[in-house]
Structure formats: C-alpha cells, structure tokens
Amino acid sequence: MGHAYRAVGWNRQKKIYDRTLGLGLIAYLVLFVVVGLLRWPEHSEETLALRALGTGALLLLHVILSIGPLARLDHRWLPLLYNRRHLGVLMFCLALVHGVFATVYYHSLTDGNPVVDPLISVLSANQRSDSLAHFPFEIFGVVALAILFLMAATSHDFWLANLTAPVWKALHMLVYVAYASVVLHVALGTLQGETSPVLSGLVGVGVVWVLGLHLVVGWRERGLDRPTTGSPSAEGYLDVAAVDELKDGQAKIVTLSGDRVAVFRNGDEVSVVSNACQHQNGPLGEGRIIDGLIVCPWHGYQYQPRCGRSPEPFTEKIPTFRAQVRAGRVWVHPTPLPAGTDVEPARIGAEA
C-alpha cells in the first residue's frame, strides 16, 4: 500500500451499496417476524426473531458464495464483488446475534454463572454423536460461527498485507467448511422439527445452486491452468500467442512456471506480468490497461506494465517476464523475474 489505514474506505459507490444492503436487511427481518406472527401464532416473538436472524444470515451466505463464480461467468457481476467484504461482515454480525440470542434464550434458564453456564450448556446439551439425525446440531453452529468470526475479524486490508494474500485467501477459503457446517446445523436443528418439504426443499436448492455453480466454474477454468507447451526457442522462449489474438489494452492469459501469466498489449508494445494482483490476488489479466496502467478488475489496484510496480506512493509489485515478438507471434521466457524488475516491452512491427 502506501497510505495510512482507515477504518473503512468508503466512497460514494460503497455507501450506496451499504445503504441498500442495510435497508434490505431491516425490511427482511421485520417482514419475517410480522408474517411469522400471523402465520405461526404458536411461536413466540423470540423464536421468530431467532429464525429471522438465522435465515437472514443463511440467505446472505448464499448470495456471498454466488458472487465469486457469477463474476467469473459474467463480468457484469463484478460490482458486487468489489464490496463483498461488507456483505461478509454483515452476515457474520447476523449469525453472531443469532448464536448469542439462541444461547441466552435456550440455555440460560439455570441460575448459576450467567455467562459460563449457557456456553457449557450449548456445548454439552446434546451428547449423542453416534446417530446421524441426533448428532448435536449446536456444535456445527459453533464451528461455522468461529470460522465466520476469523474471516470477519481479518477482513481489513491490514490483514491482507500482514498475512499476505495467499495466506489470507487460504484462511478465507474456510468459508466452504463454514457453509457445510451451516447446512448441517440447519438440517440437524430446525429441519428436525419443521418437517415441511418446502423448507427442506429450499435449503436443498440452495446447496445445489452454490456447490453446482462452483463446480461448473471451477472445472470450466481448468483449461486455463494447463501449462503452455511447445518447443522453446534457442534462448528458451515459448510461443504463447499470435499477435492478432491480443486486443489493445487487454491481455491473454497463459500458464507458465506453474501459474497464470497475463500477456498485455499496450498499443504496439507487449508486456508480460504474473497474473495475481498483490492486494488480493485478483486476476490482472482480466483487467484492462487504462491511462497506461494495468487495472485489477477486483479492487482497481494499478501496475505499470513494463516493471509490474504500482505507481508512487503505492509499493505493490509483481513478477515480470521477458517477451519477444517474432513473425507475428508472441514469445515469452517462462522464468519469472523478481517482482518489480523493469523489462523492455517487445514491439509489434519492429521485429527483425
């Protein structure tokens, strides 16, 4: 980075995003409780509030998990990705209130220690773990909440910089474990009592949607990760593309040295950089060159094409690659150069 950290980097777009989100959520919670009171008079307001919070968090989790693969399928979803972390923190807050409320409501009726006893009760109330349908559902809620806490607590850019993007990403990938835990929490909890096929059907559709979407996108992309083959030139360069394939200001993504590489065309120059943005490892090759700088499609981080460095005062830098243009083809040396190494761009039309 290269500027002092603030709590939240709000701008006009993010404010609109957050306001829409907040209002939508309040409307959902109020509507759930009001409709619930009319439809299920046998339930208390507390139970309905608890379920409003739980279902709200579950719905948001589905939305959050859909944004990533949808943005891979169609770039028009990218604006939602831009502020996904705010969605995540909000979802965690809902889940936390749900968890605390449930613990207090269901487990604090004994008059011992008001803090410790309910927690012990949550963890030990159901001791049967040898039968599928009777497995304690509380523990899955606790596991999911713990993971979501770690994610929300490390959502600030300070953590991205200090854990590094790959470690941060690996930590945040635990969201899939949290998702599985939440599904089990719901199936072993509420759905044991609420036997309506509509409810179990809705959760089932959610599971198929989220996991199916990830499967489709993940396997569709596998082709991009196949290493570039072909016989290297005398200096060890590999043929990666025809010049005509490269659109001005855009990149072709290929795989070299075990990871993706972005081959950018900037006017009649070709520059090659590692595809992962240093901020959050966003796919630079899916971004564009604007005002002479590569712009990451995820959060707008910028890099100079020839040296892979962010413009001053920012300090991010990414590995670069040497390139040549010969006989209408782009050749790239597969060995990356240390991040920030300046490389003379290959020139289209200037070839021997």
Partner: protein
C-alpha cells in the same frame, strides 16, 4: 488467486459438492423414518406419566428418551428438561439440564438424562413457566 490455491479451491468445492448433498439427504431421510416410527408407536405400559398443561408419556429406548405428548395445547416454545430435584412452583430448579425442544403433538426422541432418577420438567419459554412434570423414566432392561 494463485495456481496452488485455485487447485485447492477446486478439490475442496468438488469434495463438498459430493459430501454435503449426501449428508443432507441422509439426515432428512433418517428424520422421516423416526417420525414414522413415532407416529405408529404406542407408549409402553411402564412409561412415565408427565402431568400438567402439557401432558404426555416418556420412556427410554436405546439410550434415548422418547416423549409422546397426549395432545398439543399450543404453548409457545416448549422445552424438556431433566432435573435431580422437582420444580419449585412454576420455576425451573437450578441446574436443570436441557434435553431438547418439543414440537406440538409430534413424538420426539431426545438425548437421555445425564443421571438415573430425577424428574422431567416441561417448560414453556414463551410463557416462562413450568407446564408439565413427572418422574424421569428408567432405562429398560
């Protein structure tokens, strides 16, 4: 994402796409079986009788406690507790142990009490008072 994480992401989502739906279907189908059993079942003659607004019968089966309500008095948020001592008026005794939630007049199979003897207490969270009580059933031989 960098290559190795993308690969991990791929196998992680693939594994979950197989495991989660299977577990989900298994959990829901075992739930259906249990309810079928419950609806067809009749309380054994030695079942404990729980009396009060929310009356029913309770017995031990296979380490668990089965509770069969007599009818559904439509009380909000009914929970079943076990306690070594009986209730004091309409209040739960200290250290009452939560066994689980009851659901209308559907039979419920819940975790067994943590110790022998003691009492079963039916408590309505919505009304914050005890609505039924009886002796805890002993494990059948």
């Amino acid at each position: 994402m960098i290559g190795p994480l993308r690969a991990r992401h791929r196998w992680m989502t693939t594994a979950l796409a197989v495991v989660v739906p299977i577990l989900y279907v298994l959990i829901l189908s075992s739930r259906l079986e249990e309810h079928d059993e419950g609806h067809g079942s009749v309380a054994p003659v030695n079942a404990s009788v729980v009396e009060g607004e929310f009356a029913g019968r309770a017995w031990r089966a296979d380490g668990r406690l089965v509770f069969l309500p007599d009818r559904d008095p439509s009380l909000p948020d009914v929970l079943l507790y076990w306690s070594a001592v009986g209730p004091v008026g309409e209040d739960l005794p200290a250290n009452a142990h939560l066994l689980g939630a009851l659901d209308g007049d559907a039979p419920r199979s819940l975790a067994g009490p943590p110790a022998a003897g003691g009492h079963l207490i039916v408590y309505s969270l919505g009304h914050a008072r005890v609505v039924g009580t009886g002796p805890a059933p002993e494990e059948a031989d």
